[in-house]
């Protein structure tokens, strides 16, 4: 009881609820903490978003100490627009009415049990619920403060309230992004065009999630997207498969309708009804979508449709001017050496315009090796839908065809469209779809409970594809609150919807949970911009690349002059660059040896000047010479600096490159490579175990600097310390036997005991598996 009393006095409730700030007079206020500067703290009142400043000295001593610690260690620093209220998560509509649907779902499942003469599992207690809700709704474990806050509440509605709070938090956006990134195979690395567009596409997807854009609208926007990614980030959907339009079509069909048509790209489908002809007839709708703006054949070929369309968008005017410029550039060829320099500069300034989506009238032909009787090689294919009524649009023109395709895919009577996403979201929440596998579905009546699946599909349509309300309804079912069951992969038909399924955390959940342990208030920490660099051109999600801005400011002649000016500097830059590269290659210790310092310095200067010529007005950030170097740098720091360094660089998985490579923890734990739909894996491997057992992050870092340990530092008793640490790592209090086992050690040798049992907690299965 004593422990409980102390916990009640904890002043930080929840980052989601904002911090509960207490001033000297004992008054409390819920707010976001934005900044701490010159002993003044900037706060945003949660009730109305009002931003104001307050002297630190006026706060309670505990809050003063905690906030100072917090900022010394790098958080929360809400630098992104959200801190100023521009990127708020649109709240879910909180009506009781909708929750009737939750009861309906439970009733359907009840009937399903009756039919099979079984019963479902019992309801879970608050501790298990707490961890599950956080992991399933916002993709990370709760902090100890959040755990305390929830567990101490007495309200009978506290679970429903928690669902609403979580759905409206930024953590929801982060967790949902991983779902969409897996489904849409969002990559911010890889092919040139994929990367460049990804800089704009990934944050745009997050914005759609935050705004809770209706699913059918979202898909229509993707399918009809045209232009450059900085003007219309939705083109990332097509740029992701740059140069592979047929694959893009097939995978889109699979993602949204669950139809596997890829085989039919080369031959009739061996198991399903689809013919190769079907594939091409469907592809004929989207064939006019071009993922490269090729200026060399601008007038004659693929850009003609665009130029003739008479539309007056950025894209049209850009392209018209680009064609004029391209002709001028082609005339420049004075001397060989000049040309080399000029070419190099030209690439920087012209290349960004290559990566855009345009529509053209090119018609699709059957492939040269077409071998069936219903067509001949080289024959022009007319668009024809796989099933359903033909659409009214004018199919003679590309715009009409693309429109028709998007309408067909998302039509209200398109059962598959609703059922597929309903089933996927059910799995997202419960660990297993009503029908499995979720990716390709031939026959929805094979679902474990067809009645449930149909209900979910109609519910989603009734909600006009409000995905968040849909999730709110299923998170509020009794079913979501039942004890998890084991899904035996080898035994068919042993799963009868008795309860959600026990599942290992996804790699993102593992990473985000680590991030939660290492950095306070992790959810709002997002980069203020996404950036990428193609050779010297810097891309930022905040606006077009500098070359494009410059191009739009200047006329073609002036733009050309600018390029020529930059070309002048190419030769001296190149000579430093090649010396640098060769020396670096020949000397493994290039970065640390003093004798190379002058060269390193010279290179940095040349690089900076070169960079600024291409990116006027942008901040020059020196490229990091590889993660290896960085980590060795980190190893050399003293523990406190090292802690701050780790803290500073810690963000949620959704804010990192998609996907992460180079042995990053996300890769180690099976993040999808985002080549195939849903390609994540939840399997264990050697490197995971080695990391959890032996890495510094799992050892002295967690024992000394993790958030639960930091918070336990304010505890008034050893018992409370133990409890806070258990809550922070495992979201539960220690059992009586654990308490007896550990409490004396913790008293006698606090440091030693902590590092032992924290290590042990991280290496339990209950840490990795979601009950």
């Amino acid at each position: 009881m004593k422990v409980y009393r102390v916990l009640l006095s904890l002043f930080i409730c929840s980052e989601l609820l904002g911090f509960v700030i207490t001033d000297k007079a004992g008054r409390t206020l819920r707010c976001d903490v934005i900044r701490l500067e010159d002993a003044t703290v900037t706060l945003r009142r949660l009730s109305d978003g009002y931003v104001f400043q307050y002297p630190l000295a006026e706060l309670s001593l505990k809050d003063q100490r905690y906030l100072s610690d917090l900022f010394a260690s790098g958080g929360p620093l809400m630098t992104r627009p959200e801190a100023s209220g521009k990127f708020l998560v649109r709240p879910v509509i909180k009506t009781k009415k909708h929750l009737n649907a939750s009861h309906r779902i439970d009733a359907i499942i009840g009937r399903h049990w009756d039919k099979h003469a079984i019963t479902g599992t019992s309801l879970i207690d608050d501790e298990v619920y707490l961890r599950r809700a956080y992991l399933r709704i916002i993709g990370r474990i709760p902090t100890s403060a959040e755990a305390v806050d929830f567990l101490r509440k007495k309200s009978p509605h506290k679970r429903a309230n928690l669902v609403d709070i979580l759905l409206d938090s930024t953590g929801y956006v982060s967790h949902q992004f991983n779902f969409w990134a897996d489904l849409l195979r969002v990559r911010t690395i890889g092919l040139d065009g994929t990367q460049r567009a990804g800089v704009y596409y990934a944050p745009w997807i997050k914005q759609q999630i935050a705004k809770n854009v209706a699913y059918d609208d979202f898909v229509r926007t993707l399918l009809t997207a045209e232009g450059y990614a900085w003007d219309n980030p939705a083109v990332g959907y097509y740029m992701r498969d740059e140069g592979m339009p047929l694959d893009n079509m097939a995978l889109g069909l699979q993602a949204f309708l669950g139809i596997q048509l890829q085989c039919a790209q080369c031959h009739d489908h061996p198991f399903a009804q689809w013919k190769q002809k079907d594939f091409y007839q469907l592809a004929a709708f989207t064939h006019g979508i071009q993922t490269e703006v090729d200026l060399r054949v601008a007038k004659t070929g693929k850009l003609k449709t665009l130029l003739d369309s008479g539309k007056k968008t950025h894209l049209q005017s850009d392209i018209k001017r680009l064609i004029a410029l391209h002709e001028k550039v082609a005339d420049q060829s004075d001397s060989l050496q000049d040309l080399v320099n000029f070419d190099s500069a030209k690439v920087m300034f012209m290349r960004p315009f290559r990566w855009g989506v345009t529509h053209n009238e090119a018609s699709l032909k059957l492939p040269d090796d077409y071998a069936y009787a219903d067509g001949s090689p080289g024959e022009v294919v007319k668009p024809k839908l796989l099933f359903g009524d033909e659409v009214a649009s004018d199919l003679r023109h590309v715009e009409g065809r693309i429109q028709a395709y998007a309408e067909w895919m998302t039509a209200k009577d398109q059962d598959r469209f609703a059922l597929m996403i309903a089933n996927r979201l059910w799995r997202f929440a419960m660990g297993r779809g009503v029908i499995e596998p979720v990716g390709v579905v031939d026959d929805f009546s094979q679902a474990e409970s067809p009645e449930l699946l149909q209900f979910l599909g109609s519910l989603l349509r009734y909600l006009d594809y409000d995905l968040k309300q849909f999730l709110r309804i299923i998170y509020n079912t009794q079913f979501f609150q039942r004890i998890a069951v084991i899904d035996h992969p080898d035994i068919e038909d042993d799963y009868r919807l008795q309860g959600p399924v026990l599942q290992r955390m996804t790699s993102e959940q593992v990473w985000d949970s680590f991030a939660t342990l290492m950095r306070p208030a992790i959810d709002p920490v997002m980069p203020s911009e996404y950036t990428g660099q193609w050779v010297e051109t810097r891309y930022s999600s905040l606006g077009p690349p500098p070359a494009v801005e410059l191009f739009r400011e200047k006329n073609a002649g002036r733009y050309l002059e600018h390029i020529q000016g930059v070309a002048e500097f190419y030769k001296p830059y190149y000579s430093v660059l090649s010396k640098y590269r060769i020396t670096k290659r020949q000397n493994p210790k290039f970065y640390v040896e003093p004798r190379f310092e002058a060269l390193r310095e010279r290179f940095t200067q040349a690089q900076e000047r070169w960079f600024l010529l291409h990116n006027p007005g942008r901040e020059f950030v020196q490229a990091v010479p590889g993660a290896k170097h960085q980590s060795s740098k980190r190893d050399g720091l003293d523990p406190e600096a090292r802690r701050q360094e780790i803290m500073r660089t810690m963000v949620r998985a959704s804010e990192l490159a998609s996907p992460m490579l180079d042995g990053h923890l996300l890769q180690v734990f099976g993040q999808s490579d985002r080549h195939k739909i849903d390609n994540r894996t939840l399997k264990g491997n050697l490197l995971q175990a080695l990391f959890l057992m032996n890495a510094s992050e799992a050892n002295e870092y967690m024992a000394n600097y993790s958030m639960p340990v930091l918070e336990a530092g304010y505890a008034e008793s050893v018992e409370e310390q133990l409890e806070l640490i258990f809550l922070g790592f495992l979201s539960r209090k220690p059992t009586a036997s654990e308490f007896d086992l550990l409490i004396d050690d913790l008293r006698l040798d606090p440091e030693g005991a902590k590092s032992h049992f924290i290590w042990a907690m991280l290496n339990t299965k209950q840490f990795l598996f979601i009950q």
């Binding site: 694959d247 290659r585 080695l690 042990a760």
Partner: protein, 430 residues
């Protein structure tokens, strides 16, 4: 009677006959049957158990290295030098490899249809063109999947080098066949050692504590998924205490041998030495990279410096494997995604050239000291014995005894083969 039969190539004909025999006689073909119907004797399969794959990243210029064209006006400044094989000349940039030529099979008739790096390296590593969906496995993954477990505690597929985004990982095969990537040859497997502040005794104590905490959880959720983690931990702990980890310690090699490789001079050299140690420790597939072969400008001087980087380490590696008696069971591959154009352009560079280029095989049952195929007088086109990338990979697979004809299905039900449609060049085997 069956005119189609004569058009089939040897192996599929064999398969066909085998199938017919099975279908009509209800049994598989015994060796007796084999003699009875007069099927050709099976081509010699290589003796390789493991592979050291040296990837020349960017596209090696064949004309400046292993396929000189002294009479061609764009040959550039390099001279040919004699090798230890009569009549065979290498570029003067490769003096030490020239003395190992008797171990090499030089394939001068390589041909690819992929002229861009990303597509080219994908093709080289997987035998398939990149597609939006299924990713194709590389040879290292195939080898580990098809050749069963080893005694070694080390992962069977390891890559050493700067680049971590090369294609040809596990593809659609199990993630456990994915290559473990080591950023450089000195670091070893990450976190393979007990944390420095932890005694072995405390480690045991912690493991016990974790088990204790999990008691009721394990009981409630007993399942394959949990068991799998128990196994993973067992393997990891076995590895941590394993003697095999010493394979990563290059300092166990005599200073003289380290110097012969040139370990001090370059990471590439250290990678070659590490590769040999790993293969000895039971790793089946080791890939290392040498970068910088994309010589779009200053081709001659850059190719010279690149050759200088690889000459000593690879020559020493071959010699070292040979003197340890490991060359027969270790296939050494030197692969590159395409060659370089015969013509020197305005940047003094050579452009990409997939039409014709050179790759090399050594050891693993390959007959050394031979040249296979030829290009025309400019090094522009293949004029004799064209070898596609899938053929090249099928030859590697063949050397390892992998079934190149067998069809495997991805989870999505699509059919794949180890080396795509490639056929092994059996003439290369001794």
């Amino acid at each position: 009677m069956y005119p189609e039969l004569n058009q089939l190539d040897e192996l599929s004909r064999r398969k066909f006959i085998q199938y017919t025999a099975k279908a009509f006689l209800g049994l598989g073909m015994s060796s007796g049957m084999n003699a009875l119907i007069g099927a050709e004797k099976s081509p010699p399969i290589g003796s390789a158990k493991s592979v050291i794959y040296i990837y020349l990243d960017g596209g090696m210029s064949h004309i400046d290295t292993f396929d000189l064209k002294p009479d061609w006006k764009h040959q550039g400044p390099v001279d040919g030098i004699a090798t230890n094989v009569t009549g065979l000349k290498f570029s003067a940039y490769l003096p030490l490899l020239a003395r190992q030529a008797d171990k090499l099979a030089i394939i001068r008739s390589m041909h690819s249809n992929q002229g861009a790096h990303e597509q080219g390296e994908y093709f080289l590593h997987t035998s398939y063109e990149p597609r939006g969906g299924d990713q194709h496995p590389g040879l290292g993954a195939w080898l580990n999947k098809l050749s069963g477990d080893t005694q070694s505690t080390l992962p069977g597929n390891i890559r050493i080098g700067d680049r971590n985004n090369l294609p040809g990982g596990c593809g659609f095969l199990d993630i456990k066949y994915d290559p473990l990537h080591l950023g450089n040859p000195f670091t070893g497997i990450p976190h393979a050692r007990l944390h420095s502040e932890l005694s072995a005794e405390d480690f045991k104590r912690r493991i016990e504590l974790a088990k204790l905490m999990d008691l009721s959880f394990e009981r409630q959720y007993a399942s394959k998924a949990l068991e799998a983690y128990t196994d993973v931990y067992k393997d990891a702990i076995k590895l941590m205490g394993s003697h095999d980890l010493q394979a990563f310690d290059l300092n166990q090699e005599p200073a003289k041998l380290q110097a012969a490789y040139g370990v001090e001079q370059s990471q590439f050299a250290a990678s070659c030495l590490l590769a040999r140690r790993l293969v000895e420790a039971g790793v089946k597939f080791v890939q290392l990279s040498s970068g910088g072969w994309d010589t779009h400008s200053n081709n001659h001087s850059i190719v010279e410096s690149r050759c200088h980087q690889i000459d000593r380490p690879i020559a020493t590696l071959l010699d070292d494997l040979d003197s340890r008696g490991l060359l027969d069971e270790t296939l050494v591959v030197i692969g590159t995604e395409f060659g370089r154009a015969p013509v020197i352009d305005q940047n003094l560079g050579r452009n990409h050239h997939p039409q014709a280029f050179t790759c090399i095989l050594a050891g693993g049952g390959i007959q050394g000291g031979q040249v296979y195929g030829a290009t025309d007088e400019r090094g522009h086109s293949v004029v004799d014995n064209l070898v596609t990338i899938p053929d090249f990979n099928a030859t590697i697979a063949h050397a390892l005894g992998l079934p190149v004809d067998q069809v495997f299905y991805s989870a999505g039900g699509r059919p794949f083969q180890v080396a795509g449609k490639g056929r092994p060049i059996t003439a290369l085997f001794g």
